[in-house]
Amino acid sequence: MTCFMVNEEATMSEATQRSFFSRMRHTPMRDALRGRITGRLDVEYRLVTSGLPIPAQALIRRVVKRTRLWRIERVEVVDELIAHFLDGIDAGEPVDELIASFGDERAAARLIGRAKRRNRGVVWQALIALRWLACGIIVFYLLSAIYFYSGSPSINVNYVDRLNAPLKDAPADRLAWPLYRQAIPALRGERRINDEGDALLDAKPGSPYWPEAVAWLQSRKQAIELVRQAAQKPTLGFVYGPEGSQRDPDLWPRSDDWKTDADPLLADVLMPNLQDFRQIARVLHADARLAREQGDTARVMRNAETLGKLAGHVREGEVLVAHLVGLGIRHLMLDVIEEALNDSARNPLAPDNLQRLAHQLAHPTTAAELMSFTGDRMAIRDIIQRIYTDNGDGDGRLTPEGARLLKSFMVSHGGFPASWLEPLKVALTTPLLPVLSASRPELTAASERLFDIADANLAHPMRETDWAAYDQQIQSWQESAVDRIQFEPLRQWVRRGMIIAGLSGAQATAERYLGRRDGMLVALALEVYRQRHGDYPSALNDLVPALLPQVPADRITGGPLHYRIVDTKALVYSVGADRDDDEGRPARKRSGEPEPTLAARWHMSAGTAPDGDWVLYSPQPESE
């Protein structure tokens, strides 16, 4: 205690004799700027010159030090506590009692510090609030990062297996793929004949390339026959997936190098056969042309039938791209029939052939029979199971693997800017993805809702569909910043342009085929009528019910299709998107060139629709 007292007195002596530098050090900036070296922030000086007994000084010193206040605030507190003790001493209270009644030092320091800080200015309060906010954000970020990096997806459903499920119990002798596979190598290798993209099989009779095309076809008679046999099989039998039919080095020499994930993404499943099916369809079309030249109507009929069945096989792919290839093949089938009808003066089609063709074309009648979005729905479900965790109740959060998968979509589809800042931005925001992005049920519900709308529309003629809700949803993902973040996985699909965004367009494609098919059915009936009566009927109703169960509806207006005779030939048409009868005159492109299908559009106002009709069947002479 004596030692303490000596030290305290020494300190007092030093403190009362302040140097200039000491005063300088304890002078507020404001005073210094005014040229006054007041040293008024010197707490120690105030204490030792207060006249208080040393124990009271020590108490105040300890309390004030613990407050961690600014120096100016400490001075205020010191002055007040000194005054308090001196008032007590003046009132005759012993110092010991005053010290005893002071209360808990630590609590006093804490409470005084807190209370004085509440008196600080708005700017300081705002800075403190910001500091807390920053701390909160950092904590939130760290927790999000832990939450994010601790998640991993569990892939419970193998959608590739589901795609292949119909093949599971199919007997080998009912499968078409083994036969197509044998025929395909011989049907490849068609050479280009000009710079405009025409290939050898585009050559028509009279063309300088026609003899070469004929030779090419005749040398492949066996392969073409094999295709016809394959088309008779009820099931295609192409097994999808890396270890399925695509791994066939004889057909696709580089197939051993293709990605071979043990558990492949459905959307990444390759369909190299589609390109070959397109080629087979071109061969059949060209062979039908040759058959007409040879007067072989039976072969024309068989090729038309084969094309229809081939399109049915392609449809088994269950994904939109396969359906679209299937529609392309069906159009080639219509080309074969149309060309045969146009050639009826030279090679008349017998009534039974016309009826067979009509029966072949009678189905399908709706877009839902031509295509489905089942495969695409499965592809999205597959994506969702690969990017989210699964709690067993359909809920889950985005995972690091999922983020990587999404990033790979972005990189491969140009959605990932190459700015040097971008990797930093991605690194910083990635852990927040589970919080920012839609939850698994939200994303699932959003995608299922879109497919439900699409499926419901597919069952109706295009004119009766309502794609507004669908389009609005897609639009909101593009425009709303919140939706853009929340539904990034689906948005990336839209960006890919493969799935979802094209569903309404896909139905319109199917509807254009159906419209042309309607026209062809009418044309076949008209030809039968002409053969029976020597002339075309005055109205399409004359075909009902003997040759048609009813006049097909105009797929744009819902009214009956239109028909007129042009130069002794029948012309069948829809009034088109402008709903105005232009007597079968096709709408024209901006270049002025007539385009028979340009007016095949839906949900357009008459003012914006192209002027002209949608020509469904036109007896144009075959030209080179």
């Binding site: 506590l81 007590g88 005084i112 209370a115």
Partner: protein
Amino acid sequence: MRIERELMRGAGPAAVMRLLEGGERYGYELVKLLDRQSGGVLAMGQSTLYPLLYNLEAKGLVAARTETSAETNRPRKYYRLTDKGKRQLIRDRKQWEALSVAMGKLGVIGG
């Protein structure tokens, strides 16, 4: 009898504001008045009084001025009730009265 901290937290500010209703006072004076007028029940040390005063100041319920005494040449801080503090005291008084009545009815006090 000493009041428990939780009760003191509610009663202390009202008691101090009531003492300031009569005019401005300094810290030591308030300690003595609280002790004397409450019969020692609301006696509080510096460790309680000054944080309480600083909090009331931060809320704008009291205001302070520092004056150096000509006699002692010592600075001393005087506190007074602001208009906002007066309104708060009216509200506090009503609440304490209601509380007192309710506690009386329940037999917690006055029984």
